[in-house]
Subunit: 324 residues, 2 copies
């Protein structure tokens, strides 16, 4: 940059100001600087800028598993939204492990990221306090508020209610749930919501018909199996997400169980492939693209220092297909 300054016959401060526009510059010197920049093929060093300003152009996306299509789509949409502003997305897979969640958060802090978008699982609720202190924007994408940070959350009551009504309409009464991990911070909000609407729909969910596990295909397979091994197996099973529902289908096939003949199945998220498996998966759609966009907007608002909504909800809706 000092090279450019010399070539343009100005100070390096002026070059900086020409580039940032944070101070008025005469058209003449502006031209001269740009000419020098072009001539020398100069590009700003973002690292030096980060060191100086304490803010990088990186946004940390901290999620359990980028191979889960929901998060992959979220990542893509987030990147799409922030790219125009020069931000990059660094993807951090926590496997829903608390140590990894903390480690990535710590590293994000050290790296002076411009912001964090996270789906926390086992974090302590005060984990983001440090970020508030460091004035680093944080957006949490989760079904339930988490600490004192901006939130993107599903508006899923209608959808869940519709799903349960639909299940009830097909004459099923005993409902099981393949829920998220028992030790997740704040429990499993999706399970809570299901429980909340079950009674209204005339459905019963007994304790033995709720199993906990990770949000993975393997956990879904195992959870479904345990549910079907109970004395009176559920007539319908809701899964915490589509990936676990697919795991459930794995088991159903292995056990020779027919879906929806022997048991109905409902997922969550509506990932692309939910419509492709057989039977086509009935699910509660939570659009990952919209979630990514919402998170991006919340984050950018914070970065810009504008008053931010503390919370955006994304409408979920019920998608009836063939698994119920």
């Amino acid at each position: 940059m000092s090279d450019v300054a010399r070539a343009a016959g100005v100070s390096s401060a002026t070059v900086s100001y020409v580039l940032s526009g944070k101070r008025p510059v005469t058209e003449e010197t502006r031209q001269a600087v740009h000419a020098a920049i072009d001539r020398l093929g100069f590009t700003l060093n973002p690292v030096a800028r980060t060191l100086r300003t304490g803010r990088s152009l990186m946004i940390a996306l901290i999620v359990p598993d980028i191979a889960n299509p929901f998060y992959a789509l979220l990542a893509r949409s987030l990147q799409n939204e922030v790219r125009a502003r020069g931000y990059h997305v660094v993807v951090c897979n926590t496997e829903a492990r608390r140590d990894e969640e903390q480690a990535f958060l710590q590293e994000a802090l050290q790296q002076r990221v411009a912001g964090v978008v996270m789906t926390p699982f086992r974090l302590a609720a005060n984990a983001f306090d440090v970020f508030r202190g460091a004035a680093i924007p944080v957006v949490v994408s989760a079904d339930t508020p988490f600490g004192d940070v901006d939130l993107v959350t599903p508006d899923a009551d209608d959808a869940v209610s519709a799903a349960l009504t639909h299940v009830a309409d097909t004459g099923r009464r005993r409902v099981g749930v393949v829920a998220g991990p028992r030790d997740a911070t704040g429990g499993d909000p999706r399970l809570k919501r299901i429980r909340q609407h079950a009674a209204t729909a005339g459905l019963s969910i007994t304790e033995e018909h709720v199993v906990h596990g990770e949000h993975t295909r393997e956990a879904g397979a195992k959870g479904f199996e345990r549910l079907m091994q109970t004395r009176r197996p559920p007539e319908a099973i809701l899964c915490v997400n589509d990936v676990t529902a697919v795991g459930a289908m794995d088991t159903a096939e292995r056990l020779g169980l027919d879906i929806p003949g022997d048991v109905a199945l409902v997922g969550h998220d509506d990932i692309d492939f939910a419509a492709l498996v057989r039977p086509r998966l009935t699910t509660i759609r939570y659009p990952a693209g919209a979630v990514g966009r919402a998170a991006a907007h919340l984050l950018l608002e914070q970065i810009d220092g504008r008053t931010h909504q503390r919370r955006v909800s994304v409408k979920a809706d019920f998608v009836a297909r063939a698994s119920v």
Copy 2:
């Protein structure tokens, strides 16, 4: 860091050397420094280090689409491999567009990334020359060599041969291909390989039975449709990847075409969901996890300055399921 130095009664250089181990330090001072570090809760600032050394802890993963499960899995496995060494993965979705490919490469350069893993599509073959100049390690994941950089590539001849033989064994002769973009750098190596083995298997691929498009579901849907609209439609269709094959299935369903009754379908990659769609997709497996690991190893070898293999091939194999 100067705080730590002061607290430990040493110079900041010594603190640096204690941390890096690049110079012998007496056990005594080492202890003192560590004590001070713990007491003050000090952590190294990676940004300052990057500015000084010209190398960050970021690895750029530049791919067409992270929402394609193949790349999502690649990303996860890459991150897994490099994480222990302190590296992070920033994901860059190019949508297979040349301008984005170039832009991300340029940005990676500015950011002084530790390395680049890329699947290029429309880049000029000399695009990596700058990286060689800047001594930034690059690994390309592609079906064909690309410029003068390390390569992770499928060893797919046996698999493709097996696939075509399998197709021929079912009595089909006219084969169509939903190939990659016509203007991709170096054409479509998968198409080439298919052509190469077709004759041997006694199959014929006419010009009108090769259609080009992006590696997307939509392009697959369109390509399949065009193929099926030819005067004598192919009896079997090979797709450049599983995502396009799924697109083909979309169209088949819309048109009321039975797979494999009316036309057989073969994919590429064997993403998780290939086994879940109906009919289960027969495909040529190219394991994304192994590709990510191979890329990571190649990259780390380069970072460590060790003599690197210029090329690693990952065995592909034929997976016969129900779509042929």
